[in-house]
Amino acid sequence: MSRPFAWQMAAALVLVLGGMALETMQGGTAANIWPALGLVLVAAIAGSLFATAPLIEAGIAFIGAHGAAWLLISGIAGHEGNAGPSFYLALVGAWLLAWRCVTALSAIKPASRQAAAALGLIIPVIFGVWILILWEAIVRGAGIPFLLLPAPSAIGARIVSSASILAADVNQTVFKAVLAGYAIGCISGFAAAVAADRFIFLRRGLLPIGNMAAALPIIGVAPIMVMWFGFGWESKAAVVVVMTFFPMLVNTVAGLSSAGHMERDLMRTYASGYWQMLFKLRLPAAMPFIFNALKINSTLALIGAIVAEFFGTPVVGMGFRISTEVGRMNIDMVWAEIAVAAVAGSVFYGGVALLERAVTFWHPSIRGG
């Protein structure tokens, strides 16, 4: 099992040789593919022959794959839409090398904690970069119309050129609507859960309704909220409140009953009252559940605010920008907005996750690393 046969290398070799044969027969297409083909060929041969350790193999495959990708993408400039089959053969060859690289990296069992963390970061990054590379290369190689799917580089340029508009949209949607709604929704859901936990009758009545609400398309209240609270950010915050309330309620109620019998009995032998039990045992024990709800709500909140903006806004906001720029066929601006929304959503989620690490450091899922 230590060194399984690297079929990706062999496949890359075959593809590149096929590409070379095609290139010689047809006498070359518009763009010059030879450097990329050559690089993949050299890397595949070197990787198969000289790779003594997984790290060396991964390094060779990494250089071959990304060098070839860079050569291909820079070589296609000026020849967009004229890529021949050899272009795609070289691209797939380079992609196989990257796959080999990731496989080799996955096989490494690092000794230190830092190395493991770095590896856990590098592997998904390579995957993500390759999605962008394939996207860029195929869009430009096949000349896919700009209206249908702009290349990542065009979207990046658009983000840079209209940074001020994007910043204003983020300010309106994220910092006003999402944060306000998220805070109110989560806090009120939490309060309702504590009340439901205190009074069993309330819990029996609210929990089935809360569970059912998880399946309902709550986002549909958006037009009603816009009608009630106007076009400003307040109506979007109201939608977010309604969307985040029930996940928080259900999860907190589940969390409050998660403390074990042993611990409860211990607290009882200490003669602790309801509130002492709540603050010293049951709330800390409920924290993993509460953070689960906070994480779910972080994505729900962003979705709620953006979709609510489809129903009417002042002339600023991410949802507003997306719906108007779609109408004006500025697809690159839409993608730029989506990229920013993705970053905002990930940062929000990541922030909650970091907070969770700090608060529930005692939980096995975090302690275990």
Binding site: W99, V102, T103, S106, G120, I123, P124, I126, F127, G128, L147, L148, L149, F199, I200, F201, L202, R203, R204, G205, L206, P208, I209, A214, A215, L216, P217, I219, G220, V221, A222, P223, I224, M227, W228, S298, T299, L302, I303, I306, V307, F310, F311, G312, M318, G319, I322, S323, V326, G327, M329, I331, V334, E337, I338, A341, A342, G345, S346, F348
Partner: protein, 304 residues
């Protein structure tokens, strides 16, 4: 007194007392609150209307008026129920005024999207469980993909597809697919990894191949996880279909009905469409539950 105490502490296990009565009570409180809010929210406009007409209705008359405005800020429950009944049972199901027609349009794209999403999720989960490199590289991105407010793309997907001549079901179903694959993939990965080491070791002593382990151990063990995540997925799928109907292209479906209602301030219509959407959601989740029960019985499972 004993009864009351029992009632509040829930000492009895009678399903009527422990489930139905509390739920009905809470629902009843909600409906009363709804009527009260309808008075509060519709009151100012109604008072204004009365003042201009020079009328001075008594308290009872005022209450009834706030509950029967044609375009209220908050329609009273009976107005919504009446509208829902009229547009569901009193018109032909295939006419454009019927909620059944709009629900069917939404339901069909939800269903197609969900089927593709569930299949995609299962495929991804199988890949992740069997290839380490996929696990290490794909799993973080699957999780990241859900922090992206993907519904934001919905209008664009529909418009872009329309520009190359694809309209109707497919773009909407695509959004449903994207939303529903994630819960299924994550749940299925968990499920496929749920067999204990003992069971896997037993399979090894039987000299079972990887595919035998998959079909005879991992897949059956994963079914409870699969159905639980499919319930989440089908609800997400419905939300995707509704939001996909919002942009200009859509002319039918619950989402289009919501948008039309918001353009013309037809609040009663919006609420009726919401009720229809909720009913569709409940039916979808119940269908998945039914499939779960049938599969469980076919596999010889006992009710837990």
């Amino acid at each position: 007194m004993q009864f009351v105490k029992k009632f509040w502490t829930g000492a009895s296990m009678d399903p009527l007392r422990s489930k139905i009565v509390p739920v009905l009570t809470i629902l009843g409180i909600m409906i009363v609150a709804w009527y009260a809010f309808a008075v509060v929210l519709n009151g100012p406009f109604q008072r204004d209307l009365d003042r201009r007409a020079g009328r001075s209705p008594g308290l009872a008359g005022f209450l009834v008026e706030t509950w029967s405005q044609p375009k209220p800020t908050l329609p009273a429950p009976h107005q919504v129920a009446q509208n829902f009944f009229n547009t569901t049972f009193m018109v032909k199901p295939w006419s454009r005024r019927s909620l059944v027609y709009h629900s069917w349009v939404t339901l069909s794209s939800t269903f197609v999207g969900f089927v593709f999403g569930a299949m995609l999720g299962i495929l991804i989960a199988v890949g992740i469980v069997h290839f380490t490199s996929l696990d290490r590289s794909l799993m973080p991105w699957i999780i990241t993909s859900q922090t992206i407010p993907i519904l934001a793309i919905a209008p664009m997907v529909v418009v872009v597809f329309a520009s190359i001549g694809i309209t109707g079901l497919i773009p909407k179903a695509l959004i449903s697919t994207y939303l529903s694959f994630f819960p299924v993939a994550v749940g299925m990965v968990k499920g496929l990894r749920s067999p204990e080491l003992m069971h896997l070791d037993l399979m090894r002593t039987y000299n079972a191949t990887a595919s035998q382990v998959f079909w005879k151990l991992r897949l059956p063990a994963s079914l409870p996880f699969l159905f639980a995540s499919m319930k989440v997925g089908v609800a997400a799928s419905l939300v995707g279909a509704i939001v996909a109907e919002l942009p200009t292209g859509a002319v039918a479906g619950i989402g289009a009905k919501l948008l039309a209602g918001s353009y013309y301030s037809q609040t009663i219509e919006i609420w009726a469409a919401l009720v229809a959407g909720s009913l569709v959601a409940v039916v979808l989740v119940m269908l998945v539950g039914l499939a779960e029960r049938i599969t469980g019985r076919a596999m010889g499972g006992r009710p837990a």
